[in-house]
Amino acid sequence: MGCSVKHPPGDVTGAVMVVGGGIAGIQAALDLADTGFYVHMVEKSPAIGGVMAALDKTFPTNDCSMCILSPKLVECGRHININLMTLTEIESISGEEGNFVVNLKKHPRYVDMDKCVGCGVCATKCPKKVPNEYNERLNKRRAIYVPFAQAVPLKYTIDRDACLYFKAIDAGKKGKCKICAKFCENDAIKFDDKEEIIEVKVGSIILAPGFAAFDPSKFDAYQYTKSQNVVTSMDFERILGATGPTEGHLARLSDHKEPAKIAWIQCVGSRDINHCDNAYCSAVCCMYAIKEAVIAKEHSKIPLDCAIFYMDMRTFGKDFDKYYERAKKEMGVRFIRSRIHTIFELADGSLSIRYADEEGNIRHEDFDMVVLSIGFEASRDAREIAKKTGISLDKNNFAVTSCFSPVSTSVPGIYAAGCFQEPKDIPYSVMEASAAAGAASTTLAPARGTLTKKKEFPPEKDVSGEEPRIGVFVCNCGINIGSIVNVPEVAEFARTLPNVVYVEENLFTCSQDTQEKMAKVFKQENLNRVVVAACSPRTHEPLFQETLRASGLNKHLFEQANIRDHCSWVHQKEPALATQKAKDLVAMAVARAALLKPLEPISIDLTPAALVIGGGVAGMVSGLTIAKQGLKVHIVEKENRLGGHALKLRKTFKGETVKTYVDNLVREVTEHENISVYLNAEIKNLSGFVGNFVTTLTTGEQVEHGVIIVSTGASSSDTEEYLYEKHPNVLKWFDLDKKITDEPERLGTAKAVVIINCVGSRDDQRPYCSKICCTHAIQNALDLNVLNPDMSVYILYRDIRTYGTREELYQEARSKGVIFIRYDLANKPVVKEVDGKLNVTVTDHVLGRPITIEPDFITLQTAIVPRGHEELSKMLKVPINAEKFFLEAHMKLRPVDFATDGLFVCGMAHYPKPIDESITQALAAASRAAVVLSKEEIKVEGVVSHVNEILCRGCGRCEEVCPYGAIAVAEREDGIRVAHVQGALCKGCGACAVACPTGAADVRHFMDTQVLTMVEAALGG
C-alpha cells in the first residue's frame, strides 16, 4: 500500500524515477506517464527491453516475446513524458519521500543520438567482431552495435573495450581505424563523447533492475564449460529465436546437427544449498522448460524426444497445469521425477545423464543436447543499489518487502518491482510494476500534472473540398535503400502519378534537418497529402505525422511506402525487381493518399469515480488506493461485512498476522471520505461504457462511475471425498486454522495429523492448481509442530509447490520432521473409519508400498473455486475462462485489464492466489484505473468504425462480431433500429465492416475504397 501523504499539497515533486528498462520498468513508466507524472527512466545498457527481449516465446500462450514487447518499447521510447536515459546509472540519492534528488552518471555512447538514424551502415563496415551478449555470446556482433534489431532507442553504440580506435588510444597509441565515422553519412560518430553527471529531482523512485541468470559454470557435474551441447535455458531461448545464432534452426552447437533427443535439467542453481546458496525456488523454470520443450518439438523437422528431469513440477499459475498436461499427453514430452548425479560427454558430442529415479535406482540415458534450467539470482547491481538508496535486502540480496505492502521497500517513497524482490514470471512483474506506479501516485497525487509536458500544435488547415495535392518524399536511408533501389528512377516515376505535385529525394527523410525542410515544403507547395517512401510505418509513421501536425495538416493525411524493410533489404540481389517493386509500393501509397480524409479524435466526458465489485482485501486495497488519489470510490459487497476470505486467514507466508491488517484496512476504508460502502448489495443492472457507467444495485441505489474493478474473490470448495462431513475429525483447511487459534491446548494433545493436498484441484473436473494450499499446509504443519514437537504430521501431496522464497518453509518443515508422502491422482489416499477412529492408507512413493496412518484428525486442502462469475460476466460483457475465473485482456502484458476499456480485475476473481499477490494485483488495478480516471476527458484516435444509418437495417451482425462491445443496435427516436458505434470503445479492427451485409458499417481510414485502391494500384502498375 502506498504511504500516507505527509506533505501539504504541492509540496511533492510530480516526477518519478524508474530504474531498470526491463518489462517491469517499462510498465511502471508507462502507467505513471499516462497518469500525469513525468518519468525519468534509467537503464544501464544501451537499450531497454531487458530479458524479455531475448526470449523466444512466452508461456502459457506461446506468444512471440518480441512481438508483444516491441509495441511497449516503442511507446516508451516515444512517450512525451518519459525521459529515456540509457547507458545511465544511479550515482547517489539524497532527500526523502516526495522530494528526492538523484545524481546520475551517464556513460558516453560515442554516437550522437540526435544525428544517428539507426541505418546500421557503421556496423556493416566495422572490422571488429566480439561476442554478442544478446545472443548469450553464441555468435558475434561488431564493436559498434545495437543490442538487437528492435532496440529502443535505435541508436548505435561504440563498445569502447572492443573498438580498435579506442583500444589503440587506451594503450597510449594513435587511434586509426575510425571506419564507422568514414561511412556514417550523417556525421553521428562522436569519439570525444564524455561521461556526464546529471541531477534529477523526483518524488518517488521505482527500482526494477531485474535479476541475474545463474551461472552453471561452477557445477562440474553438468559439463557446461566443457561441452558445447550443454546449454543454459537462456542459450536455448536464443537458439530457438529467429534472430539467434542459428536463425531459429534447432541445431547442436558442436556440429550443427539437428538433435533427436534433448533433456532439460531443472533446479540448476535453485532449491540447492549443497552446490550453491540458493535455497529458494526460481518459480518460473518448470514452465519455461515445458515451453522450450514444446516449442523445440514444433521447430524440429524430425520427431524430437524431449525429457524434463525434475523434482516437483511447479505449474501453479493460471492455465499452467493445463499447459503441463498438454505437453505430457498431446506433445509427448517426458517428465522424469529424479535427482541428477552426473553428465558425461560421449565421443560424438552426445551426453549421457546418470540419475537416481524416484525409487532411488541409478539409471542413465543418452541425449544429443542438454538444457540446464538455470535459476534466478539477485541482480548483480542489487547491493550497489541498496547501498545508494538505503533499502534493505534479504539474505539472498532480494529487496525486502512485506506481504501487506508488497511493492514498498524499507525506505518510504522507494518501491521495488519485478525480480528485484524475488524470482517471478512476466505477468507478476507487470502487476508489480503497475502496483508500484499506483503506490507512488498515491503519495504524489497532489503534484499530478505539474511536470508533464503537452505538445502544442497550430490549428489544422481545412482541406475538405480541395483537390488532392500530394507530395512524395523518397528516402535513400543512407545506402540502405539507395544502393539497391534506383531512387532517382522511383522519384521520376512518382512525378507521373495522378495528383502528385511535388517529389523530392532525401538522404535520410527522418533526420531532424530534413523534417524541418519538409515542413517548409508542405507550405510552399500547398500540399494537402504526404507520402514518404522509406522504412516501416510501424517505427516512423508517428514522426512524420508529427511534422504534418506541426505544419497544420491533419495527421491522417499521410501514407508511408515501406521500400526498405519490405524491399531493398529483402531483394538485395535483384535491384531491377526491387526498383519495380518500390515503384509499385509508391503508386499504391499515392493512390491511397488521394482518398485519405482528415479524422478528428473523439472526446467524451468522464465520471471520475470507480465502482469496486467485492469488498475483500483486493477490492478494499484497490478502492483505497484510488480514493487516496482524490477520486470517488463505490465498494459493493454481497455480505454484511467487508473483509471477504481474508477474515479466515491467520498469517501470510512471511508470518505477518492477517487479522490486524484486515481490521485496519476495513477501518481505513470505512472512514475514508471518498469511499461509499454498500453492504448486502450486488449489481442489478449496468449500462454505459468507459468513463460513463451507470449501475443500479440490488439495494436500489444508483451510482455513476467511469471504471469498474472486479474483485469478487473466490471460495474454498466442499468435497465428498475423505469422509468430509461424515466424520467430525475431518476438517477443511481453515477449520484447522481456527482450531490453532481457538484451542491450541486441545490440539496439542493430538498424536498424529494428516493433511491432504489437492483435494478437488488438478483433476479432470478442475484442471488447475489452487496455488495457496501447499504453503498453507506446510505453515499449519509447522504450527502443529510448535504446539507439540512429538506430534507426527503427515502431508500427502502430489507436487510441493512452494514457489519463490516459500521454499524455505518447505525446507524448515522437512528439517523439523514433517513427513511428506507423495501420491498419484490414480492412487489417492483412502480414508476409512475403523471403530470410530480415522484410518488413512497411502502408497509411499519411496517404498512403493501402502502404509497406514491412524491420525487424530485430517485436514483437507480443498480447491479454490470461483462463485457467481457467469452471471456477472454476462452483465459486464467480459469473458471468463473454462474454469470460470475472469479472463484478462492478455495473460502476459495486460494481467489486470479486461479487453473492454475501463474494466479491471484483481484478486482471486482472476485466479487463486495468496494475499500478497492479491494486494499487488489490487494496487495494479488501481493504477490502471487511474490511467482512465486521471484524464479530464476520454480521447480516442479517429480510426474507428462508423455506420451509415440510411443503409443500416439493424440486423445486429456487427454487434455479434465486435470483440470490444463497441457497436450495438438500438432504437432511434423515430422507432427505427440501427447500429451505433461507441467510439470510445472501438479499436478500428473492422470486423463490423466485414460482417455488415449492406455496407452500412465501415472503418474510417481503412474504408473499402481506401484498401481496394491499393490493390488496383499494385496490379495496374
Binding site: P71, Q150, H566, W569, V570, K573, K581, V994, V1011
Partner: protein, 67 residues
C-alpha cells in the same frame, strides 16, 4: 520476367503481427522473391472476402492473408 510465369501476390497483413514479421524479415535481411505487394491493415478482421475476390478479378495470381 525471363519468359517464365511469375505470380503476382497481394498480401494483406495485420499491422501488429504479420506486418511486423515482414519488417523483421527485412531487419534480418532474409531474402525472398520480389513479386509480393503488402497491404497493411489494422486487423485481419478488416479483410472482407470481397477484397480477395476483387484482387483476383484485377489479376492477382495469389493472395496471402496473414495476421
Amino acid at each position: 520476367m525471363n519468359g517464365e510465369f511469375e505470380p503476382m501476390i497481394i498480401a494483406f497483413c495485420c499491422n501488429w503481427c504479420a506486418y511486423a514479421a515482414a519488417d523483421l524479415a527485412g531487419i534480418s535481411r532474409m531474402q525472398y522473391p520480389a513479386n509480393i505487394r503488402v497491404i497493411r491493415v489494422m486487423c485481419l478482421g478488416r479483410i472482407n472476402p470481397n477484397f480477395i475476390l476483387k484482387a483476383f478479378q484485377l489479376g492477382a495470381d495469389g493472395i496471402l492473408v496473414s495476421g
